[in-house]
């Protein structure tokens, strides 16, 4: 098969992930068992600055692990930005940790997301944080409380702008 044909088929594959009968994006955030302290997360962002989750103690931090090739990750990204817009003035930060990809790949994907993400985009090219955070599949999202402990978890794609999720995140920030 020619390379161009392979690229064209990739577009079909992405299209397949956007076909009519997609798995549901759900809207639950479930309390984290044990409320363990948030593990280390210290990574570069799009501006080559280091972002350290421990510097964000006192805020609610939504940590989303994702990749551009992961269909539910792509589908939930717009709603993550809408959550960011709804909560950014309420002591809430959103950190999206890209797993295993480089700046160019992520940057070109972000141009296709509507609304365009304005939250922090971090890079974990070696996927080491997946082990540190005990992530077993993509996407996975954690909501860290102002006390630095994981309050909620969500395995799989979500509609992050769903009122139930927005309410839980804001209430956690108000605690």
């Amino acid at each position: 098969m020619h390379y161009a044909g392979v690229v064209a088929l990739f577009m079909c594959f992405v299209g397949l992930g956007q076909a009519a009968e997609l798995p549901l994006l759900t809207h639950s955030l479930t309390p984290s068992a044990g409320q363990r302290p948030a593990p280390v997360l210290r990574l570069q962002n799009l501006d080559d600055e280091i972002v350290d989750i421990h510097d964000l103690k006192g805020k609610v931090v939504v940590v989303n692990f994702w990749a551009t090739w992961c269909p539910p990750c792509r589908r939930e990204m717009g709603s993550l930005e809408r959550l960011h817009q709804a909560t950014k003035d309420k002591n809430v930060e959103v950190l999206a940790v890209n797993v295993g990809e480089n700046f160019d790949t992520v940057f070109s994907f972000l141009g296709t997301v509507e609304p365009s993400p304005n939250f922090q985009m971090l890079f974990d090219e070696d996927a080491l944080s997946m082990g540190t955070w005990s992530v077993k599949g993509l996407p996975t999202t954690y909501v860290v409380g102002p006390d630095g402990r994981i309050a909620y978890e969500a395995v799989g794609g979500r509609e992050f702008d769903h009122p139930e999720i927005v309410k839980k995140v804001i209430e956690l920030a108000d605690d």
Partner: protein, 188 residues
């Protein structure tokens, strides 16, 4: 009499909404890929064929060469979805141990880690191996009720056109639950 009819209908409706649906299948009109799915005890389980050309395209775009991914692309791969809609608790599953049978004979999945070791030994780019690892259906996972789910690739390791039965198993507080899909076919 009218009241009895209404009550009967309400009872039937309540059974309808909580009953588990039997295995069903459908074919995607665009790609021809088939899906098999079932809902058991509040858990949704489905397998959708991924065609070898779709897999070649996906992994070449992640950094594999066609030669490096060929064995996997031809190994009968499914987009697998497991979702805990309303099971009576957190479900724990080890997909690498899901029983598979071909003509009533047991067949074992190739573990994800074995694929990863094979690709690393073959000199596949690190970023491509990372994408492969995380594109697979999780070998182990926990799903909370209310909508935790994963979508990932599962290689069955059978020739094109093979038919098999697969049982997704999970555990809730020490009790095992099962969802069986029968006569699933590998893409031709």
């Amino acid at each position: 009499m009218k009241n009895i009819t209404v009550v009967t209908l309400l009872v039937l409706a309540s059974f309808c909404c909580h009953a588990d649906v039997a295995q069903s299948s459908r074919t995607d009109a665009l790609t021809g890929a088939e899906t098999w799915e079932i809902q058991v005890d509040g858990v949704h389980f489905s397998l959708t064929q991924l065609l070898p050309d779709q897999l070649r395209a996906f992994y070449v775009n992640r950094g594999f060469t066609l030669e490096q991914i060929e064995l996997y692309a031809a190994s009968c791969v499914y987009m697998t979805v497991l979702r805990n809609d309303r099971a009576p608790g957190v479900i724990r599953t080890v997909s690498s141990r899901w029983p598979i049978s071909v003509n009533n004979r047991p067949h074992e999945l190739i573990p994800v880690e074995q694929w990863v070791e094979r690709f690393s030994a073959a000199g596949v780019k690190k970023s491509a191996v990372i994408a492969f690892r995380w594109a697979q259906f999780p070998p182990e996972q926990e799903y909370r009720p209310g909508g935790d789910w994963n979508q990932g690739m599962l290689s069955v390791g059978l020739p094109a056109g093979s038919r098999f039965d697969i049982i997704a198993t999970w555990d809730i507080a020490g009790n095992e639950y099962r969802a069986k899909l029968t006569e699933v076919q590998c893409a031709k």
